[in-house]
Assembly symmetry: C2
Homo-oligomer: 112 residues x 2
């Protein structure tokens, strides 16, 4: 039995970071440009405030996005992908293409 | 404040399926060709038997791989990506490219 090559631990870390619950959705939303917290909330309706805050902090720690606070009244907080985050576009769009081809649309799923 | 487009629920399901713990590693290993259970175990050293069996079942249910049992002695069980699974290659390789660029190599991480 031939041994397979070891799966690369760097790829493994990357795929699980992108795929961790909600992260993929947040990254997809921010590919369209910088967004405020409330906009992200609306783009991903099922996410809770606690999860969105936690994931945004994680993605900031990982260097995928930055958080800007504008001294307006009320204070305006905006999130923006870094270069490292934007460079996930090819991977994210490839997943989106695959999903369009293979994941049933919700309407079809609901009527099944 | 402009509303963002809703994040596509089909993309969201896909990214979390690929990124669910161990799934990305198993899919990567099977892109190199069909593999036996023990070969997958060796390609992903940290995975437990329980998790590998559970994830293989999940990926089979999702239609990403098939399980073949050859009536040899001892019985030989082999796993192989379906067309749907193989079509993830572009996405998986884009994540691997990104990881090569942005995720530190383990040796560097250990010495940090």
């Amino acid at each position: 039995m031939e041994p397979l090559p070891l799966v690369c631990s760097r790829y493994h870390a990357a795929v699980e970071l992108i795929g961790r619950r909600w992260n993929g959705a947040i990254l997809r939303a921010l590919l369209d440009g910088p967004a405020r917290y409330a906009q992200l909330r609306e783009a991903i309706p099922q996410i809770s405030d606690r999860m969105l805050s936690e994931r945004l902090r994680e993605l900031e720690t990982e260097g995928l996005l930055t958080r800007h606070v504008a001294a307006d009244a009320p204070v305006r907080v905006e999130y923006q992908l870094t270069g490292k985050g934007r460079d996930l576009e090819k991977a994210i769009m490839a997943i989106a293409d695959w999903a369009t081809r293979y994941v049933p649309a919700p309407a079809l799923r609901d009527s099944a």
